[in-house]
């Protein structure tokens, strides 16, 4: 057999790699408003498949949504009103948001990104700039699912690497959570194809999917968590965090935030809420 010894050496090398993996390395240094101005470009992680928040417009190819508008407000504050070519959006699935920040692939994450304590250990959050809540989306003819506990024994879809799965596991331990994809839009497809009985994540995301489905799905309408959306960045990016928080408060005061909301999420019939107070933890 060709190179049998070589093959075993490979296996040994891999085992050694597993052993060495405990000690990871660090990324590059944290961005500041000044370093970003010098670079002349803001790289923002967002979703490309999330209606109302971050979605590629199928006819123009542009990325549109509330998250995109918030990122643009920050970019305008950094670079002035003309931000053509100065902001880049990078599609970032939920499970790699922390990695994208830590290795400096992106400067900011504005991607329906819930602030929580676990994540605070890895990244820093500005905001919140919006407070959502986890809800459940079902097919229009579904009448048996009225709250999260009704998910026991039913098939529920969510996205790999999101907190939504953990929340359901706590409140409906017997729910079947084995179905998960890399994109929310695929959960919606699975719901339409009757592979699953419910899709659960933040209500804002679900509303977008319902709008896109042309009314084939409906919202159960009982949120069971509070999801403050924050803007993620490197853990030690203190200057940038203060800058983004200041920018948000300014946008609350001068109506920019309200306009951003009304031109995106508001279009789905969601009334504009009072902006949440910024948490300078």
């Amino acid at each position: 057999m060709a190179g049998r010894r070589v093959v075993w050496a490979v296996a040994l090398a891999l085992v050694a790699a597993v052993a060495a993996a405990g000690c990871g390395g660090g990324g590059s240094s944290a961005a500041t408003p000044d370093s970003l101005r010098e670079k002349g470009k803001l790289v923002v992680a967002t979703k490309f498949d999330q209606p109302l928040f971050g979605q590629r417009n199928p006819s123009t190819g542009a990325i549109e949504g509330f998250d995109v508008e918030i990122a643009k407000i920050i970019a305008r504050k950094l670079f002035g009103n003309d931000i053509t070519g100065k902001i880049e959006f990078v599609e970032t699935p939920s499970k790699i948001r922390e990695t994208a920040i830590e290795n400096g692939r992106v400067d900011l994450v504005v991607a329906t990104y819930t602030i929580n304590d676990t994540r605070k250990e890895q990244v820093a959050f500005a905001g919140p700039y919006y407070v959502a809540g986890q809800d459940i989306m079902v097919r229009k003819d579904e009448n048996d699912i009225k709250s999260v506990t009704d998910l026991n024994g039913r098939k529920v879809c969510s996205v790999q690497g999101s907190t939504s799965i953990d929340n359901v596991r706590e409140q409906a331990p017997r729910a079947d959570l084995s179905t998960s994809f890399d994109l929310y839009s695929l959960c919606a497809e699975a719901l339409g194809d009757k592979r699953v009985d419910a899709v659960t994540t933040d209500n804002t995301i679900l509303v977008g999917l319902i709008q896109q489905s042309g009314g084939a799905y409906k919202l159960v309408g009982k949120t069971f968590t509070t999801e403050p959306y924050g803007i993620g960045m490197k853990k030690d990016a203190n200057d940038l965090r203060t800058f983004v928080n200041d920018t948000l408060e300014e946008a609350y005061a001068n109506g920019e935030w309200k306009r951003a909301f009304e031109s995106t999420v508001g279009k789905a019939g969601i009334p504009t809420p009072t902006p949440p107070p910024v948490d300078r933890y």
Binding site: A9, R56, E102, Q212
Partner: protein
């Protein structure tokens, strides 16, 4: 297509049977196609509006942009993998044992791990060591690592497939080792390997679709987005599949033409790889025995 050479020409009864079988086959296939079309129609999947949603210009442009990214990724990966492949083949044929060993470890390692795992690793692991790559370059890196190993084996097989006499004759007329390699080994080996290399390019091009798992905006990702956004997912995916088939069939035809030409000119001793590492068929038994 030429008739099979396996059996003698059929007698009168055999011809009648073959004709009957032909009729049955054509009828069965026609029936299946009809059933499929009825199924599409019953579920409204033949509706003009559904197809128009993905064939309209702005929508189609999204897919074509994705196709361009797919082709770019394939071209860059193939170029880089060729360099890696040459290095690995040279390493595995080197006189020094440690060099052979190192090249051997590389080749065996990267051929043993699924390409999807390599892609995810390039995307998730390297950043923790300070190497920051976009989805595009993560994919290119993984494809280069894997295809470098495969191409290395193809190159090595190509060199080994040459009759020993070729090299002996070259040395006998006074060529140096380098001259022998440049003037005798490489030109002949390259001609024999050409079809296998083009086939590997097809495999590589197909593997770029795995970029969708790390959010790369290539053809398959664009197809998924367009499909969910317009409610024409089936149509978008069929279109995407058709685009891959057209591009790859073009490449496969090229491979076949190269193979036929070189077989006609140079006779046996070819390395036939009929569609990537999945079925690496070394037809030349002598070359194969030298491979192990």
């Amino acid at each position: 297509m030429s008739p099979p050479v396996l059996m003698d020409a059929l007698g009168p009864r055999g011809r009648r049977r073959a004709a009957a079988a032909s009729v049955v086959t054509v009828a069965a296939v026609a029936g299946l196609v009809a059933l499929a079309l009825i199924r599409f129609a019953d579920h409204g999947q033949l509706d003009a509006e559904r197809w128009r949603a993905v064939l309209r210009w702005p929508a189609l442009r999204q897919l074509l942009e994705g196709l361009v990214i797919t082709l770019e990724a394939a071209a860059v990966s193939m170029a880089l993998a060729t360099v890696v492949g040459v290095v690995m083949a040279a390493g595995r044929l080197a006189p020094a044992r440690p060099v052979r060993w190192a090249a051997g470890v590389y080749v065996e390692l990267f051929r043993a791990i699924p390409i999807l795992v390599l892609i995810i690793a390039a995307f998730l692991v390297l950043p923790t060591y300070g190497l920051e790559l976009s989805p595009f370059w993560s994919l290119v890196l993984a494809l280069t690592a894997y295809n470098g190993a495969v191409l290395g084996e193809i190159f090595r097989a190509g060199v080994l497939s040459l009759e020993r006499g070729q090299i002996e004759a070259a040395r006998a007329v006074g060529l140096t080792g380098r001259q022998t390699a440049v003037a005798v080994v490489v030109p002949q080996a390259a001609r024999r390997m050409a079809p296998a290399i083009v086939s590997q390019l097809v495999t590589l091009l197909k593997d770029t679709s795995l970029g969708t798992a790390i959010g790369m905006q290539e053809l398959l990702s664009r197809g998924r987005q367009l499909g969910s956004g317009t409610g024409s997912l089936l149509q978008a995916l069929i279109l995407v599949a058709a685009m891959y088939v057209v591009v790859n069939l073009t490449l496969s035809q090229l491979a076949r033409r190269l193979e036929v030409r070189q077989r006609r000119r140079y006779g046996a001793g070819r390395i036939a790889i009929t569609g990537g590492p999945e079925d690496l068929v070394l037809v030349d038994a002598e070359a194969e025995s030298r491979l192990r």
